[in-house]
Every structure is written in C-alpha cells, then in structure tokens.
Symmetry: C2
Subunit: 440 residues, 2 copies
C-alpha cells in the first residue's frame, strides 16, 4: 500500500472517515507507521488519533516512535479530553517534554485536566467550545460559530456567558438560524440552561444527557464559570463502559478486555475463582462439621446442590435488581427502605412457592414427607436469606462508597451457599430421627 | 398548581424542558390531566409526549382520556418514531379512528412504519429529515435547513439525493456554514455517506453510530432510496435496552421492569426459578444414584458444593466473555473457532491451577492426598467442561437465531452442576477404596 508513494497513500487514506483511518492505522507494522509519520502532517494524524480507541499504553508507544516535536504537534491537534486520557499514562519525563513543545495555551489546559479525578465530568470534558455574550446579535453569534467551526468539538450549541465567564444561557445553532438576524442573543437564548459540575460522577452526566436528549452539556466549576463541554459521543462511551462494568461484576470477569491469549485470559480470571474457591472452602468446612449427620442420613447429600443452587439463583436475581435500582440513583432512605422491604416480601413469596414445590416433589419421589418438609423448609429459609443479602449487600456497598456492581454474582452465590448449608443442616438435625426412621 | 388558572399553569409549565414537563405530567391525577388537555394546545402537549418514556400501554390510556380529535392532533405533533412505538399498542378500533382524524401524509407514514419489524432500523427511524439535491448551492441548502428547522428531527445533517430519491451524499450544517455561499452541494458533500438498511438489526445500527461518532445516520430501502433517519438519542435508548437485556439474561430476571409490588415481582421471577429447580432436580436424581457411594464415604458430600460452585463460576465467566464477543458480531467461522479454542485452553489452565490448589488444600486439611487427588481431578474436569459449555452454548444459540444473552448465567450454573456431579462421582467411584481406606 505504501512504498515511498506518499501522494498515492494520502489520496487513498485521507478520504476515509477518521474511524476507518484509525482502524487501518492500528493494524500497521512499526515500519509502516514510521512511513505514515513522514507522509502525514501532525494535523492529519491528530484527527486520526482522536478516533483511536486502543489502550492508552499502546497509543503512548506510538508517540514514543515519533520525534518529540511531531508527537507534541499531533497531541496539540487532538481534542483535549482525548489527549488527556492518553497522556495520563505517559512517562513523567516524556510528558514534560511534550508539554514543553506544544503551545502554552494547550499545555495549560492539559495540565489542568490531568488533575481531574477519573470518572468525573472534568476527566471526560473537552475545552474546545463556543462561548458568546448576551448582547451580541444572532448574526454575530452565527459568525462566531462559523469561525470556531474547525476547532470546537460541537458548534450546535453556543453557550452564553456574562462578564465573569459565568454560564447564563445556551442557544442552539438551530435557534440562531431561525431567529431574526438582529435579534439579541440574550432574548433568544434559553436561560434555563442545564449544566454539570466539574467533579460530578460521569454516570450522572450520562443520565442527564440521556434523559434530556442533549447533544452536549456544559461543565462549570464551583463559581458557575464555564470551563468545558461534554458531548453525546463521550457519553455513549461512558454508558458502554458502565454497562460493561455491571455485566463484568455479575459474571466475575472483566469482559471489556478479555485477551485472546488463553494464558493471559486465565491469569485475569483466576484471582476471582481462587478467592471464591477459598470462600467456598468455608462451606466445605461447614458441611464437614455435619459429616456425622450425612453419614447417618446420606439422603441429605442428595439435596445440597438443589438448595444452594436455587438460593444462589434467587440471590443473584435480587442483587441484579438492587444494583439496577441503585444505578438510577434513587438513593434516598425512603426508596432504600422500600427496596429492602419489597425484596424481603418477594423472598418470602418466592421461598414459599419454591419450598412448597420441592416439598411435594421430594415427598412423592422419596415417599417421605418429613424429608420433603425438611428440604422445603430449608429452601424457603435459604431463599429468604439470599434475597435479603442480594439486596442489602449492594446497598451497604453503595453507602460505604464502593461500586455496588462489585458485589458480584459469583460472590453472592458463594455466600448464599454458606448460609444455605448452615440453614439446611440445622433444620435437618432437628428432624434427623424422622428422616432416618422412614427414609434411608 | 392548577385550579382553573390556565395562564398561570401555562406560564410555569411551558418554560420547562420537555423532559421535565413529561416527568410532571406522568405524576398527575386523572382529574389534573383532564385540565391539562384543556389548557394546552395539541402542539404543546405533543412536544411533552415526545419526552414521555412510560410503557406504551399507559400512554395509550392517556390518549383514550382525550377527545379523539385532540388525541389525533397530539399524535400528529409527535415524531413519527415515537408515535409508532405507542400506537403499536393501541386497540385496532381506536388506531383506525386516530389515523382517520390526522393529516393524510402523517397517517400514511405511521401506517407504513407499523409494518417494520421490532428492533430493526425501520422501527426506530424517524421520517422527518432534510433532503437536498446536488446542484443546489450552499446558500440554498442552508435556506432549506432553516425552513425545515422546526419539523426535522435533526438539521445538523442534510442528505443529498438524486432524481430517483437515491442517497448519494451528506453535508453537515457545519460544512454548509464554513463553505462559500455559491459552492455547489455536490462539490462540498461527502459522497462516502454511511447508511443502514431498513431491516438492519438496531444493535448493528447502534454500533455504527457509536464507532463513527455520528449524530445521525440515514436509513435506505433496498433500492438505496432514502426513507428515514436514526438519531443518536434513539441509539442511546437502544444501547440501554440491549445492555439491560444482557444483564437480565445473566441474572435470570428482567431488571428493566422490576415491579415495586412484591407479589408481582415474585410472579415475574418464579418461572425462571422453578424451571431451574426442576433442572436442578436432575442433579439431585444423579446424586441420589450415587447415594450408596456417599453413605460409604460421607466425606464426598463435603466437597459437592465446592466443585459445582467453582465450575459454575468458571462457566459463567466463559459465558459472559462469549456473549460479549458475539455482541461485537465478529461471527465469521474463524473468530468462532478461535473463541472456542481460547476458551478450551483457558479452561485447561484454570482447571489445572484450581485443581492443584484444592488438591493441596484437601490433602493437607484431611491429611488424605488420594482424596485431594479425586477432588482436584474432578474440579479440573468439571471446569474444563463448564468453560467449553459456557462458550459453546451462546455460539450455538446465536447460530440458531436466538439471542445468546438468553443462555443465561443461572442456566449455565445449573447445567454445570449436573455435569460436575457426574464427573465427581465417577472419579470418586474409581478411587473409593483409597478414600474409605485412609479417609473416613
């Protein structure tokens, strides 16, 4: 595709959408990339780099391949939010180098944003936005938009500020177009402008943009000064990321980044599995405690997995519902109390129905209704406990400031194994003479 | 808030964002709603209704409260895609009535869209879009956009069509603004326009919009005729919906719609639990088969839950990874074979490490390394099988045309319980004399 044929490559490459350019770029060999750095200007490659969605470490290694001057120029051309995401992983020495080689204004913006905490509005915002003032006319507002059209991340919203850079309104490009040319911005702007604070959780920002169907939302600091903008495409990434996290939590594996190399994949999954195995050993220890009971009535062993399995499933359902409810941030005390109450009653109903079902099945199958009663009762109690744990654990984790999605599915099932076995053998112990009398 | 005080209500209500209007509207009593229907024009209420995200059945009931003429006028004001989502749930008689009372053009569009299959591009597209032709100037293109600004779902993209209504290009409002006024559309347009077919899966549409960071994408029929547009806010709903479905599948419960009434919640969750309970009974039957073995070596019962639990967790991890990989639609045979191969080797590695761990633990704990060997071997085999099942089942389901996310977590764990127990007792049977000889 490209053997010293710079113009030919440029003709083919530059008509592509930046996403496609990025897809091609990441497939290149080191030698091919070296050529690309010679064939393309930093402006052109900066646009491509905006669309690369690889791990930051890998993008950093591309920068290391370039001359520092070229790298700094490429970074300068990138949107600040994208550049910061990557530079957060650069070596201190290289970072200082790049910052020194780029225009002062850009390096100041990057330095400031490197201080925003991960997963806050500040860390995903761009600083390239369109500001106008209230006593401009629509015509002059449109003029500003045209001028900024190449730089700004979106020109479909222009934010109106007062003399102190404070956010006082918003006009859409649509409004500017349909307004009278001489209308004053302050008269056509929407002064009910929604904004987010710089340290707000990115998940809350996503919720606002989604609910209001915005294309972008302005970011302000604590003086209500306008400092950035978050666009809907950043938010789609956030939604993806958060839903992948929830899903990963429930499965006990990081699905976002599952390597194709089986040894690496195993290395990522083993910590969870081995932790749960050790946790599961406490269940084994507990059963071991009741070994005497099992040897007297081996029939009891038959139903261990039915009880732990069903309680585990019920607990996972309850956990998933609680995690979802918490994600929607209705976390006032009243809602929480109602969630717990609902789950408790739900657990009771489910436990009753499931317990009765297994009572009838076991009773008929083994022709032993006392055994059926033991299994049914144990299953009912185990389900009620698992349901309560499934809703309580994420709520407690949320209160303690952890992500409730981490109280993951495998953890709940393993924990509910333990309580289920405890409940089961204690109930079985009470009825032992009846079971062995007729059963075994 | 509103006792015959129409103007006061209008003053307060109409300055709010439509999302906030919708939030207020759905909290009103029937009596209050009746007043709103008198106070607001159909145009105003139509805008509010675009932002209502309740169940369609409930929105239909609002229409039933209005006079048919008013209802038809409100529906006419709504975006076609939103209106269709709701009208799909209207009674035949009422639907015919509404369609008769609205302008011919709108009712034709709605009728056509009611035929598109659920979850395809056709079912989520809007028909309000801006079309221009290639030999217009930028000035006249801008003029068209201004004229359509009130009607169209987005004016930030204008699609260029030829004489046969076929899609040949796209210009963004940004491009129109920065171009020379007299430049021809055909010269400034991007002719590499991405579009989707009307029957394409909404998930694929979402992927395209997300990857390319589009604000909207055009929809064409099989003659490449331009028939609709899908905007990024529709796509956010799709992404939410699909991720909620995946999550629900893994948990075995519909998290999107978990009622606050515990009896209704129980009713929704019980079918899954009882199905799995019956499936779990086959595990119990299997163990029952080996009851003789257990009564001879009750120590075996101690480790049932460790083995089934760990294999279940490993299977769930493997399932989650496979479902995710399938969602990204790399479903050529080569990728599938590689996924299965990776999971098999991963299972082998995980099985080896976990098996060795439990071998050492059990060996030391029970001072019986033969028992340790049995447990370790059983765990290794059970994990390998669970891992393979976890990746194979969603792939097979996908091939058969089912949503792989339905091959849910609880199903995999219950299935892996069965195979794990089978493997466990068969291995244990081989070593029985050694176990009872030193162990129990």
């Amino acid at each position: 595709l490209e053997q010293q044929q710079a113009t030919k490559f440029r003709n083919v490459f530059l008509v592509l959408h930046v996403y496609e350019q990025a897809q091609i770029f990441i497939e290149l060999t080191k030698k091919q990339r070296a050529r690309v750095y010679r064939y393309l200007t930093p402006e052109e490659l900066g646009a491509t780099f905006n669309a690369i969605e690889e791990e930051p470490e890998r993008v950093i290694s591309y920068f290391d391949e370039m001359t520092p001057n070229y790298a700094a120029a490429v970074i300068t051309q990138m949107y600040t939010d994208n550049a910061v995401d990557i530079l957060a992983f650069a070596e201190k020495k290289n970072l200082a180098n790049y910052l020194r080689l780029m225009p002062r204004e850009k390096s100041d913006e990057i330095k400031e944003m490197l201080h925003y905490e991960d997963k806050t509005a500040g860390s995903i915002m761009a600083t390239e936005l369109v500001k106008i003032v209230g006593n401009q006319t629509a015509r002059s507002g449109l003029h500003v938009l045209k001028k900024e059209a190449k730089e700004a991340e979106t020109i479909y919203y222009a934010y109106v500020i007062d003399d102190d850079e404070k956010l006082i309104g918003v006009v859409t490009l649509r409004q500017l177009l349909i307004s009278d040319d001489d209308a004053l911005i302050r008269d056509i702007m929407n002064d009910q402008v929604k904004s987010v604070k710089v340290d707000e959780d990115q998940e809350d920002v996503a919720k606002t943009i989604r609910d209001y169907n915005f294309l972008a939302i302005p970011v302000t600091d604590y003086d209500n000064k306008l400092i950035g903008i978050i666009t809907v495409d950043d938010i789609i990434d956030v939604i993806d990321e958060e839903s992948a996290e929830d899903y990963s939590g429930l499965a006990g594996v990081d699905i976002e980044d599952s390597p194709d190399d089986p040894f690496k994949a195993a290395k990522k999954r083993l910590p969870w599995l081995v932790t749960l195995l050790f946790l599961g050993m406490s269940t084994a220890t507990l059963i071991s405690h009741y070994e005497q009971l099992v040897s007297e009535a081996s029939i009891l062993a038959v139903f261990i997995s039915s009880i732990t399995g069903t309680a585990g499933n019920a607990g996972t359902q309850s956990l998933a519902v609680a995690v979802r409810k918490l994600a929607y941030k209705d976390d006032d005390t009243k809602t929480i109390m109602r969630t717990i109450f609902t789950e408790a009653i739900t657990g009771l109903v489910i436990g009753l129905v499931t317990g009765l079902t297994i009572f009838v099945i076991v009773g008929l199958w083994k022709n032993n209704f006392i055994l059926g009663l033991v299994i049914g009762l144990a299953m009912m109690c185990a389900i009620i406990v698992a349901n309560l744990a499934g809703s309580l654990i994420p709520i407690v984790m949320d209160k303690l400031g952890f992500d409730p999605a981490v109280a993951s599915g495998p953890f709940i099932s393993t924990l509910s194994d333990l309580t289920s076995v405890l409940i089961y053998f204690n109930i079985a112990g009470l009825f032992l003479s009846f079971i062995t009398g007729t059963g075994n």
